[in-house]
């Protein structure tokens, strides 16, 4: 009987080895170790064995069963893996075909530039103020030390609605409004917004464009503070390797006044067509707030001083991204707008 069992074992393992089908494997299992399988059949003859032999044969039978079962499991696993591999191979796709497109929109490049500047100054403790686009003549000009009859405020340069109302020509009126609304309190604010000038639209002029105004008022504010603040701004906005230069200029609402240039990135300051061979690119106007402006807003110029600066996001975007025509901002061609995803 022991011989019989060993033979069955060999027979089963041989069959397991040669098969390559999961179905056959199942049949082999039934044939040998199933409830009605050959091993069970052999064991029916146990009754004829002596009491000494029985445990030995019983143990052998278990061993044989286990061995066959192990072989079956191993083989099954093997065959299943082959089958899976085959299935997966059939499922192979062309990963180079385009993905299902997710459409994402983009902020306008001017918004991106404005928000970048906003965030930068928020980091320096500034708040953001807004003001009306239709301004009174008083806030747009007079409160900024541009009295009536001043040559810099010709009717034909501005979009007047009535003698007293016009589309603001700069964001500076927000300075005057903010100061007037506060009672000798320190101010740190920037003000972005749309402004309008009576210009014919061409590559470098637009009757509507954007501006950002900055204002810092407190006791003992120095021109060196203006310079330091603009330096921080320029390096963060245009790159740590950029130099700034202030040069004397004129604005009715600041004194002293300064124009800020940054070193030209294209030529590194050596002079090229981008910087008109000067090595420098004009970025913004600035200065110490004129005492008349402080006074008109109710601040005592003997106690308070401050600085203001104003710049054009249109111009900054044009410089930063090499845009050749200001009208592109307002034509809103999606092929233009979508170029600045990461801006």
């Amino acid at each position: 009987m022991q011989e019989q069992l060993k033979q069955l074992k060999n027979e089963a393992i041989e069959k397991i080895n040669v098969t390559d089908s999961l179905d056959q494997l199942q049949e082999i299992q039934v044939e040998y170790i199933g409830r009605k399988g050959s091993i069970t059949t052999v064991l029916r003859g146990m009754g004829k064995l002596s009491a000494e032999e029985r445990p030995i044969v019983g143990q052998l039978a278990n061993e044989v069963r286990e061995a066959i079962q192990n072989e079956l499991s191993t083989k099954k696993e093997h065959l299943e893996k082959i089958e899976l591999d085959k299935k997966l191979a059939e499922e192979t796709i062309d990963v180079t075909l385009p993905g299902r497109k997710v459409t994402v929109g983009h902020p306008h490049i001017l918004t991106s530039v404005i928000e970048e500047i906003e965030d930068l100054f928020i980091g320096l403790g500034y708040e953001i103020k807004e003001g009306p686009e239709v301004e009174t003549d008083y806030y747009n000009f007079e409160a900024l030390n541009l009295p009536k009859g001043h040559p810099a405020r010709e009717m034909q340069d501005s979009f007047y609605i009535t003698n007293e109302l016009l589309l603001r020509t700069h964001t500076s009126p927000v300075q005057a409004r903010t100061m007037r609304a506060l009672d000798n309190e320190p101010i740190r604010m920037i003000c972005p917004g749309k402004v309008y000038r009576r210009d014919s639209d061409d590559a470098t002029h637009s009757h509507q464009f954007t501006q950002i105004e900055g204002l810092y008022v407190d006791k003992n504010v120095r021109m060196s503070d203006l310079k330091g603040t603009l330096d921080v701004f320029a390096k963060k906005m245009f790159g740590e390797d950029r130099e700034i230069r202030l040069r004397p200029s004129f604005f009715p609402f600041t004194e002293p006044s300064a124009e800020m240039d940054i070193s030209c990135k294209t030529c590194g300051g050596k002079g090229c067509s981008v910087c008109k061979h000067s090595g420098w690119i004009e970025i913004l106007g600035s200065g110490m707030i004129h005492p008349r402006v402080l006074e008109m807003a109710g601040y005592d110029p003997e106690v308070y001083s401050g600085f203001a600066f104003g710049m054009g996001p249109d111009r900054i975007a044009m410089l930063k991204y090499g845009i050749d025509d200001i009208r592109r901002f307002y034509a809103n061609d999606v092929r233009f707008l979508k170029q600045f995803d990461e801006a």
């Binding site: 708040e127 040559p151 034909q156 504010v221 004129f250 005492p291 809103n332």
Partner: protein, 810 residues
């Protein structure tokens, strides 16, 4: 201001500074050099003065001349010349064989129509001189040099070919730098060399001008100074070539010696002058007075000008001779016949000049200087300088005595300057010695006592009025570059966006994240655009579009009442450029006014609007395509409402310019806040668009609307139960209304109701539709039983039947 660098050396010695160094120096001082122009763009070699000894027509060519030219060498050169103005006896510019003209053009012996030509007689343009630097009479031909020019000499110096012109972009305050002396003052602060005034050698005759003219001024504040000089026996003719060249470099056209000299002194001193033909004045007096209303004068340009009492005239006591400070009259103009000149050097009020300039449109080099303000201390000197030049270059005899009206204030202003205050304003540590030295360089006299300076401001510096102006003067000479970099030492408080600003950014980010691209369009629109695609909350508001007083075009005349008309145009712009699938939005202000006669600022309301057309889903190779439709745009707005935790209600609405059956007005808490839907197909067609959808929301309202406070709600522990109900109703019944009924009646167990199927057609009557809803039942406290849900569901069924006349299926 155009500054010839060679001319400038007359007034200040700037050593051997290069053009670049001079540009940098002036720019650093605040006189920004905006352009640099070389008179001859390229250098030429071997160009000399020649004398045309003989000149006859080329035997084989009508338009060519055959010339024998003496160039100071042993043999004359035979040169063929094509210029029309060539003539025997002229001194001309000759490029000898071997000469190199700009563009590497080498002059060689050549044969022209069979005859040898040994060189070339040149025009200035051939020497790469821009036409604007060429005297008008030589623009069309060769240059003819003065008779006394030395044959064989170089022409560079003579024709000013080696000069460079700097274009200084002056800020409006720096009227003092609108002349060579003024520029010299600034240069002198940086080169350690004093300003040199021209030497005036004025020889006057025994005869007195007082016998010729009497001067009176009616209103002293408008003309506090008027000086008249009489110069007899002048010879009117061309001015010297060097003067013509300098004027050309300064952008002024040479006319004749008398006019050129007044212009020359204008550029030199900044003092406008005028020369009258004395014999044509018609009286022996000059009366300066206001014009009478309607008084007519014929100006030098031959036009008749009607003036009024805002303007000032120079008269002969009866009739006008000139508009003060603006332009002379044609009747007393200096001509070739003029023998005696009355030379005017005057100080006119800037505002009265400006009014006349604006009235006549005659803006000139002279008037613009009066308008910006001139130096009271230079008026007489400039007159003397011009008289001296007239005697030297027009053979004039200057009579003794200048006849004047003189009430001119020539005192210098005083400004107190305290060193500590200066340094605290600049953040610098400039010493008293340094301040003194800077003031001296500026030419400002002062008295100092410790930290206190009393500074006398020269009358040429009309822009220096207060302490802060003085701070700028010191800083600019000290050098803005030497001011340190500091950050404010004051206590700082954290900066942040306001809640509304933050929310606005989030709303915009939301729209971008779902696929809309931001645009910025013009606020100024056409009349038609103010009437198109208005949101019902605007069109029902009796708003009157705000027009500009002086629009530049009909397209940009009114302030917008909606972003949509221009957004639609942007869609058209893109679609026309083969960008078929476009989704745009804009956030910005509209301008709301109710006044017919506008007195107050219009209300500026922030709106956020979008326009979409074409495919929304376009997965090409998967063949999945979906066009933008009403429910897509509605979904975007519902998503926004969810994002903001607010509830927006959509109501069927008929709106102008919209598809009559596919538009909805939008409401929050019962307030009308905008609309959405499909634009009318005829409008879409007009704009070359396919089906196009828009929305327009009152952004200001969204930013202000009260939103529920964010408080954590426990996630339900007990399972929800889902029931469906399918009903048949009349087509006119809105799903939203049924949904509202279900929600109301199902309270408190029905948490959510969603329509999931809508059907019309087979099996239903023509006027019927079937709608199916999911009802989500939930009790946060316990597991619901079927009995509880059944009871609630029964109520819902009953309510839907009675309220909406619905048949319930299944």
């Amino acid at each position: 201001m155009l500054v010839s660098l060679k001319w400038l050396t007359d007034y200040v010695d700037y050593g051997n500074k290069t053009v670049d160094e001079m540009s940098a120096l002036l720019t650093k001082l605040g006189l920004e050099v905006d352009g640099v122009e070389y008179i001859a763009k390229e250098k030429s070699e071997n160009i000399v003065v020649g004398y045309v000894k003989e000149c006859e027509q080329h035997p084989n060519a009508d338009k060519l001349s055959l010339c024998q030219v003496d160039v100071g060498e042993e043999a004359d050169l035979q040169i063929i010349c094509g210029a029309a103005n060539i003539a025997q006896g002229q001194k001309v510019v000759v490029a000898k064989p071997g000469a190199v003209l700009p563009g590497n053009f080498k002059i060689k012996k050549v044969k022209l129509r069979g005859i040898e030509s040994n060189g070339m007689i040149c025009s200035l343009q051939e020497l790469s001189v821009d036409e604007k630097f060429v005297a008008p009479q030589f623009v069309e031909g060769i240059v003819v040099l003065p008779e006394d020019t030395e044959v064989g000499s170089s022409v560079d110096e003579l024709l000013n070919l080696d000069d460079v012109v700097l274009d200084i972009d002056l800020t409006p305050n720096r009227a003092d730098a609108l002349n060579m002396l003024g520029v010299a003052y600034d240069v002198s602060t940086s080169v350690d060399s004093p300003v040199k005034y021209p030497e005036i050698n004025l020889n006057r005759t025994e005869e007195s001008a007082k016998d010729y003219i009497n001067v009176s001024v009616a209103e002293e504040s408008l003309a506090p100074y008027y000086g008249a000089m009489i110069i007899k026996n002048v010879t009117v003719g061309p001015s010297p070539i060097w003067m013509q060249n300098r004027l050309l470099a300064a952008g002024i056209r040479p006319i004749n010696n008398v006019v050129d000299i007044t212009n020359y002194v204008l550029i030199e001193y900044g003092q406008p002058l005028h020369a009258f033909d004395y014999d044509l004045i018609g009286s022996k007096e000059i009366v300066v007075r206001r014009a009478e209303n309607g008084e007519v004068i014929k100006t030098l340009d031959g036009k008749e000008r009607t003036m009024n009492e805002d303007h000032m005239l120079i008269t002969n006591g009866k009739v006008p001779l000139a508009i003060a400070g603006v332009m002379g009259g044609a009747d007393s103009e200096v001509t070739d016949e003029t023998k005696t000149i009355l030379l005017e050097a005057a100080y006119f009020d800037r505002n009265v000049v400006r009014k006349a300039v604006n009235h006549t449109g005659l803006r000139s080099e002279a008037s613009s200087r009066f308008e910006k303000g001139i130096d009271p201390n230079r008026v007489q000197a400039a007159g003397d300088r011009a008289a001296a030049l007239l005697s030297e270059y027009a053979n004039g005899e200057v009579l003794k005595d200048t006849v004047t009206f003189d009430k001119l204030d020539r005192t210098e202003a005083e400004i107190l300057l305290n060193t500590e205050k200066l340094n605290s304003r600049l953040g610098t540590e400039i010493s008293n010695e340094e301040i003194g030295s800077i003031l001296t360089k500026l030419g400002f006299s002062y008295e100092a006592s410790n930290d206190d300076f009393t500074v006398n401001i020269p009358t040429r510096r009309l822009d220096v009025l207060i302490f802060e102006d003085m701070v700028e003067e010191i800083a600019r000479i000290y050098g803005y570059d030497k001011i340190p970099y500091t950050l404010p030492a004051n206590a700082s408080k954290p900066g942040r966006l306001s809640n509304a600003q933050l929310l606005k950014r989030r709303i915009k980010n939301y729209l971008e994240s779902v696929g809309l691209t931001e645009t910025i369009t013009y606020s100024l629109v056409s009349k038609k655009q103010t009437e198109t695609l208005l949101s019902p909350d605007i069109s029902s508001g009796d708003y009157i579009p705000v027009p500009l007083a002086m629009p530049m075009s009909e397209d940009h005349k009114y302030l917008r009442l909606s972003h949509l008309p221009e957004l639609i145009n942007r869609l058209t712009h893109n679609v026309a450029r083969k960008q078929a699938d476009v989704a745009l939005y804009e956030a910005g202000s509209i301008f709301l006014n109710k006044e017919t006669e506008i007195h107050t600022q219009p209300e500026e309301q922030a709106r956020i609007s979008g326009a979409l057309t074409g495919m929304w889903v376009n997965q090409k190779w998967q063949a999945e395509q979906k066009e933008v439709d009403f429910y897509l745009v509605k979904g975007l707005i519902e998503g926004l409402a969810d994002y903001l935790s607010i509830n927006i209600e959509f109501k069927q609405a008929v709106i102008d310019d919209m598809h009559p059956g596919r538009a909805a007005s939008l409401h929050i808490n019962g307030d009308l806040i905008g609309f959405m839907g499909q634009i009318h197909p005829s409008l879409a067609k007009e704009k070359d668009l396919k089906e196009t959808f828009v929305f327009d929301l009152n952004l200001a309202y969204l930013l202000e609307v009260e939103r529920p406070e964010l408080i954590y709600t426990a996630i339900p522990k007990y399972p929800s139960i889902l029931r469906d109900i399918a009903i048949i109703v009349d087509k006119s019944v809105n799903a939203g209304d049924v949904q509202a009924t279900i929600k109301e009646v199902g309270q408190p167990l029905v948490k959510q109701v969603e329509a999931f199927d809508v059907y019309t057609g087979e099996g239903l009557e023509a006027n019927e539709k079937s709608i199916a809803f999911n009802l989500h039942y939930q009790d946060p406290e316990k597991t619901l039983t079927d009995e509880e849900v059944d009871a609630s569901f029964e109520k819902v069924v009953e309510a839907v039947k009675t309220k909406h006349n619905a048949k319930v299926r299944n």
